[in-house]
């Protein structure tokens, strides 16, 4: 009789994690795999080329090879191989497409980084403080901030920085001490204090200035009388976002670069700026849905500070929609960078950039130089398609409830 274990060996169930599950769902989808393959190829190719295949656009010039069609083997006419042909300055288009990818990647990552950092933070704070009451310290900070911002107007008119500080102090007083006063008394004190802070220092400048600053001080005092809270902050932020959203985003990006002057760095700033509201809105909506969850309530119940709740409990849970949006955002940033480059507002020649390459060459289309226009465009389209496929796949993988 052989010895048999008393407890039969059971195969252990593989440990499953949130990210592990998401990964399995992601690679299960053929379109997501295709997207991932394109993205990996694009990123690897451009990064490797940038570091291992030196290219100096300033010296790349050979008029004898001007606008040659693609060749696969050397001919007497064209001694070198040009897979994608050459452009109007005899430059190898394949090489410029590969190196142009580095610029597209840079624009994408940096501009999405700008939108994400600014928009994400604004949306996080707006969503959180819209639904969670402020602590005393935060209320004082908010009111002092409002006092400082509004007070800077009379301070500027009178040329007296001290006024802004005084108005900030008034805001802090209103939030801490005056909060407990009866309404009538608070109104009186705040209006009087505002009038004095505005008018008295301004008297040293000119009676007219004192008049205007006094009136301004009166209205600032009136504003500071209200016990303002988090919803106000959220409201201000979202109204500002509405103003940016009132412009079609491509238009605003074009306009900003048109005035700033061309350049890849400026294109990044413009594209990043224009994208801020998208992330702010997404973040706010996500946070609003998370604040009501039990684990956030539990954290509040055990007395965790707001910073801890925000960054330990809420922020990690906003990651899935943010990852999806950023992936899709990389794609659109590449298109927009191409559009700016095409209009002559992005990369400055001779810097290789896909859109600028199209803008350089499209005049030669009528003379039959199809290759100079075809390949940079395919590069834009493929890389954007890759990010879009991957983004769609990530959306399905990270939020299985949405999968249809």
């Amino acid at each position: 009789m052989s010895e048999r274990p008393i407890v039969p060996e059971m195969p252990l169930r593989r440990r499953r994690t949130l990210w592990g599950d998401a990964w399995r769902r992601l690679i299960a989808s053929p379109t997501a795999r295709l997207g991932m393959a394109i993205v990996v190829l694009f990123v690897l190719g451009t990064v490797l080329a940038h570091f291992l295949w030196p290219y100096d656009p300033k010296t790349d010039l050979d008029y004898s090879l001007k606008l040659k069609p693609p060749t696969l083997r050397p001919t007497p006419d064209v001694p070198s191989i040009h897979l994608f042909g050459t452009d109007k300055l005899g430059r190898d288009i394949f090489r410029r497409v590969v190196h142009g990818g580095w610029n597209s990647l840079r624009v994408g990552v940096i501009s999405v980084g700008i939108s994400l950092a600014v928009g994400g933070l604004l949306g996080l704070l707006a969503g959180f403080y819209e639904s969670v009451p402020l602590t005393v310290g935060e209320r004082i900070g908010l009111m002092a901030g409002i006092g400082l911002v509004l007070g800077s107007i009379p301070a500027w008119i009178a040329g007296q920085a001290v006024q802004a500080v005084l108005f900030a102090a008034l805001g802090a007083v209103s939030a801490s001490v005056a909060a407990s006063w009866p309404n009538g008394r608070r109104w009186l004190v705040m209006l009087g204090a505002g009038l004095l802070i505005g008018a008295v220092p301004s008297l040293f400048v000119s009676p007219y200035v004192a008049l205007v600053c006094g009136l301004l001080g009166l209205s600032i005092g009136a504003v500071l009388t209200f016990p303002l809270g988090g919803p106000l902050f959220s409201n201000i932020v979202m109204r500002l976002m509405d103003v940016i959203l009132a412009f079609p985003s491509i238009l605003l990006a074009i306009a900003i670069v048109a005035f700033l002057g061309p350049g890849l760095d400026r294109a990044m700033i413009a594209i990043g700026f224009v994208g801020i509201p998208t992330y702010a809105r997404l973040m706010r909506a996500t946070v609003l849905s998370l604040v009501q969850r039990d684990y956030v309530l539990a954290a509040q119940a055990v007395g965790s500070g707001h910073t801890r709740i925000l960054f330990r409990h809420i922020l990690p849970n906003t990651l899935s929609p943010i990852i999806v949006q950023s992936t899709l955002g990389l794609g659109s940033a590449i298109i927009w960078a191409g559009a700016l480059g095409f209009l002559g507002l992005g990369a400055i020649p001779p810097e290789p950039e896909w859109g600028a390459m199209l803008g350089d060459s499209y005049r030669f289309l009528t003379s039959g130089a199809w290759w100079a226009v075809t390949f940079p465009g395919i590069a834009i389209m493929l890389s954007v398609l890759g990010f879009n496929l991957l983004g769609d796949g990530l959306r399905d993988a990270l939020d299985p409830r949405l999968t249809r």
């Binding site: 491509i250 074009i254 289309l365 226009v373 465009g377 834009i380 389209m381």
Partner: protein
């Protein structure tokens, strides 16, 4: 009605914000805007003239020096308030190179852009919604896969490149369509609405109508691609959601014909989000016109703004940006209102 008023009031801060942004654009120019417009070698006189014309000698928002002397008129006489005051009177300033009032030129070019955008949107809606419905109805079949992959490629397509490819195929190789412009130079059309397709139809100029349509075809195809793809995706997603509702199951259980269920019960409810997308995309069409009009030499606002950017005619860029943004705000207002009309729940929120 209360909803309408509230919605209109909420527009005021947004529009003020838009004017401030457009006004401040000029401040983004590194250095002196007047010098930037005229170039380094401009004479002192002409720089001074431009400074006068644009009011650059005044302070940006308020003049605190004037206030000290008790000059209240001078206090508010600033660049921004002058800019705003002129806007209210419909005056967008003048082009610095050609000395034409910008508002006049814009109103002449606006119909061309509107015609292009409307035609593109019509194509996008007419094709996008049926494609979305068919994909949703035949979910996970090859029809669905093909159209959704097509839509994804459409979303990823840089329209300026698509335009160039069209020129190569249809104008250079096949020679079907003219390479650019809006109408053959030899053809005269009496302007009524400014939309050439309508004007030629009304007056019965068939040859001119045919010519205008041929000029319109390629830019419309380029401009329609992205909204077409987005509308198709949106319609499909929205239809799939609605098709899971109880009332669809009820309708099916009653033994209604599939077509009736799809169009009468599902589509009506599924169209709401699509309306929003159509509105948003109309604004993007107007902005995307800068690229399309540049490629196809279409004499609309976009081409004019592009030429102004290249020629550093900054007041024109400001005027064009402002006009497009205001139209965009207006379109979004109409979308919100139609949304409220379609879905009574929104009015009572």
């Amino acid at each position: 009605m209360r909803y309408l008023i509230r919605r209109l009031l909420s527009l005021i801060p947004t529009i003020l914000g838009v004017t401030i942004v457009v006004f401040l654009l000029l401040r983004l120019i590194p250095g002196d805007p007047a010098v930037a417009m005229l170039g380094e070698h401009a004479s002192q006189d002409s720089v001074q003239r431009i400074r006068e014309q644009l009011g650059l000698n005044r302070p940006l928002f308020l003049d605190r020096e004037a206030l000290k002397g008790g000059d209240f008129r001078g206090f508010v006489d600033s660049q921004y308030l002058r800019f705003l005051g002129r806007l209210v009177r419909g005056d967008l300033g003048a082009s610095i190179h050609r000395r034409i009032p910008i508002a006049q030129e814009l109103s002449q070019r606006f119909p061309a852009t509107v015609e292009l955008a409307l035609a593109a949107m019509a194509v996008a809606v007419a094709l996008g919604i049926p494609i979305g419905i068919i994909s949703a109805a035949r979910r996970n079949t090859w029809v669905d896969s093909v159209s959704m992959v097509g839509a994804l490629i459409g979303v990823s397509m840089p329209i300026f490149w698509l335009g160039l490819m069209e020129i190569m195929l249809f104008a250079v190789i096949l020679n079907w369509f003219p390479i650019g412009g809006r109408l053959d130079h030899a053809i005269e059309v009496r302007r009524i609405t400014g939309l050439l397709l309508i004007d030629t139809l009304v007056t019965g100029q068939w040859a001119a109508f045919w010519d205008a349509a041929k000029h319109l075809a390629m830019p419309v195809l380029a401009l329609a691609t992205i909204p077409l793809a987005i509308i198709a995706r949106m319609t499909r997603a929205s239809m799939l959601e609605v098709l899971q509702e109880d009332y669809i199951r009820t309708a099916r259980a009653k033994g209604l014909h599939q077509r009736l269920v799809l169009f009468r019960h599902a589509l009506k409810n599924a169209l709401l989000p699509v309306v929003t997308v159509v509105g948003l995309q109309t604004g993007n069409l107007l902005a995307g016109a800068i690229l399309t009009e540049t490629i196809f030499a279409w004499p609309g606002i976009g081409k004019w703004v592009y030429d102004a950017i290249i020629g550093r005619d900054y007041p024109v860029v400001q005027g064009g940006t402002l006009l497009i943004a205001l139209v965009f705000v207006l379109v979004n207002l109409l979308v919100d209102l139609s949304y409220a009309a379609l879905d009574p729940r929104i009015r009572y929120e």
